[in-house]
């Protein structure tokens, strides 16, 4: 039997939707002993695959796990594994589609309907996890900003920290996340707030900071690669607020440099 066929037969047997005939085919190619049947042997690998992915999920989404409880989270993690399949050879990016996948599950399962905020909470946890492992940034000094603006005016394109992730939600998920982390709230939930905007970034540790919608939109504009001049022309209000906040963004490590618009690709 050729190698590819034997691998296809075995791997098919791991899938939850394997047919009886397909499973029997896998059993037929496996050695058996009296107390350890081919079916049991396949199950060892099935459990190991599920367990490996579950351990990553519990590490990346610890608050989702706390809220749902072990059994429910384990079921979801298993369904997620076999319905989406891992597409990378390492597990460091495993779980990237979990928030979007949760969106679909909330609509499908009555038992999850009360957890309508869970996909956004998973997005927050994913952003936190991502921020921890991103590329380190070069240090940019606030005092260099004056020289740069003198040389290039507003033709500068701000460069954001690799560790910076934008997060927004209609629900106060950051407060929920904090309460489950037994951490001191850094902001008070304001029930009248229509929407919540946050920046996730890494200094020594990963931080999450609530920002105004204007600051949030300014950073979104920075991500598009527009120069300050172009932003000002098209998005006057956001750019006005953003420029006012720029020094504190540099100090926070959110803005880590600039590119002169006429010298694209050249870091200044």
């Amino acid at each position: 039997m050729n190698l590819k066929i034997s691998q296809q037969i075995l791997c098919r047997a791991f899938e939850p939707d394997v047919s009886l005939r397909e499973f029997e085919l896998a059993e037929e190619i496996i050695h058996m002993t009296q107390h350890f049947t081919p079916a049991d042997r396949i199950k060892v690998y099935q459990h190991s695959i599920s367990g490996m992915h579950y351990r990553v999920m519990e590490m990346v989404f610890p608050v989702c796990l706390q809220i749902l409880g072990d059994a429910c989270f384990a079921n979801l993690a298993n369904d997620y594994l076999w319905s989406t399949h891992s597409r990378k050879c390492t597990l460091d990016q495993y779980g990237d589609h979990f928030p979007d996948w949760l969106d679909e599950q909330i609509d499908k399962h009555d038992t999850l309907k009360d957890f309508f905020y869970l996909p956004d909470l998973a997005r927050l946890e994913w952003g936190w996890h991502q921020s921890l492992f991103t590329q380190d940034d070069a240090v940019f000094k606030l005092e260099d900003l004056t020289d740069l603006t003198n040389q290039h005016g507003t033709s500068l394109v701000p460069q954001l920290s690799h560790s910076l992730f934008l997060f927004n939600s209609p629900y106060p998920v950051y407060d929920i996340w904090l309460s489950h982390k037994n951490a001191e709230p850094k902001e008070t939930y304001q029930p009248d707030l229509q929407h919540h905007y946050h920046i996730i970034y890494r200094m020594d540790t990963v931080e999450i900071k609530a920002v105004s919608d204007m600051v949030y939109r300014f950073i979104e504009l920075c991500q598009t690669g527009l120069s300050l001049a172009d932003m000002e022309q098209q998005y006057e209000k956001e750019t006005f607020v953003g420029l006012y906040e720029l020094p504190s963004m540099i100090q926070s490590g959110w803005v880590t440099g600039f590119i002169a618009d006429h010298k694209k690709g050249q870091q200044v």
């Binding site: 039997m1 050729n2 190698l3 590819k4 034997s6 691998q7 296809q8 075995l10 791997c11 791991f14 037929e28 190619i29 496996i30 050695h31 002993t33 107390h35 350890f36 081919p38 049991d40 042997r41 396949i42 060892v44 690998y45 190991s48 695959i49 490996m52 992915h53 399949h85 891992s86 597409r87 990378k88 050879c89 390492t90 597990l91 460091d92 495993y94 921890l132 492992f133 991103t134 590329q135 380190d136 690799h162 890494r202 020594d204 540790t205």
Partner: protein
């Protein structure tokens, strides 16, 4: 062919090292424990930056590292993941490991990653297939690699070779080295009903450059290579036989689940070193 300067020299590391896991990094950083070398799970450290990476770079100043990988899928039929191999090479340039190893297994099929060490049929076809891929990997990494014997829970009806013969041939044909996991031999022997000592007496020790030791979990009708227990008495016995064959080979203690304090791993390493010293002394006495 691959540059084998580093991986041919067992000299730069000796004694029994420990698998370095996240939970022990701070301990190692601040206490500089008396451990001769560390092995890192390469796949957990391919991220471009962050505090864990900084810590590894600091630790590397005082300790030698080896790289242990799980994602090459050397026995797989999907194309090799070149980006993954480039990441390993890049990390290798940063941390300069003495060895790079992966397993005799496959983990990918049709683009789907099982992230598990799945067993291969031991046939001439699969031997040729995996040797070709190891040669490619060694060319990309520009070094010889070590292949570890896996613990396995199933074997194929159409296998025509014993695992030890497959390992020996693979090392010879791909001009690579062997990472001999003594616990895996014991676990597989119990799960498949072969004799562990027969495995050891048939393996070509001239190709073995590293030994792994870990703890299994007894699941009643089979043993699971869970790396969550101290090394069992049976595996210590096998280790004595192993070290009798090749007393200078560096060893490593692996513990990946329910990980205890670093001191517990150091105690296991001390036992391994005591066995090594006793075995060497006994051999000296016998020869005298």
């Amino acid at each position: 062919m691959a540059d084998s300067t580093l991986s041919n020299m067992a000299g730069p590391i000796s004694g029994t090292g420990v698998g370095l896991r996240h939970c022990h990094i701070q301990d190692v950083l601040f206490n500089n424990p008396d451990i001769p070398w560390f092995e890192i799970l390469t796949d957990n450290h391919l991220e471009p930056g962050g505090p864990v990476k900084h810590a590894l770079q600091t630790i590397r100043q005082d300790y030698v590292f080896s790289f242990h990988c799980v994602g090459m899928s050397l026995g797989g039929v999907d194309p090799l993941e070149i980006n993954y191999l480039k990441q390993i090479k890049q990390l290798g340039e940063e941390l300069d490991p003495i060895f790079v190893s992966d397993h005799l297994s496959f983990s990918t099929l049709n683009g789907q990653h099982y992230n598990e060490l799945l067993p291969l049929p031991y046939t001439e076809d699969s031997l040729k297939h995996i040797c070709d891929r190891i040669l490619q990997v060694q060319d990309i990494l520009n070094r010889q690699i070590l292949i570890e014997n896996p613990s396995s829970y199933l074997s194929y009806q159409h296998s025509t070779l014993d695992e030890w013969d497959f390992m020996n041939e693979l090392a010879k044909q791909a001009d690579c080295h062997v990472l001999l996991d003594v616990n895996n031999i014991y676990v597989s022997a119990c799960n498949h009903g072969f004799d562990s000592n027969k495995y050891l007496s048939n393996i070509d020790f001239s190709r073995v450059k590293e030994i792994h030791l870990g703890g299994y979990e007894d699941r009643g009708h089979y043993l699971l290579d869970a790396h969550n227990h101290p090394i069992s008495d049976e595996v210590w016995e096998l280790f004595k036989t192993t070290i009798g064959q090749a007393p200078e080979i560096p060893c490593l203690i692996e513990w990946d689940n329910d990980i205890p304090a670093l001191e517990v791993l150091q105690q296991q390493a001390s036992i391994a070193e005591d066995i090594r010293q006793n075995t060497m002394q006994e051999a000296l006495l016998e020869s005298a």
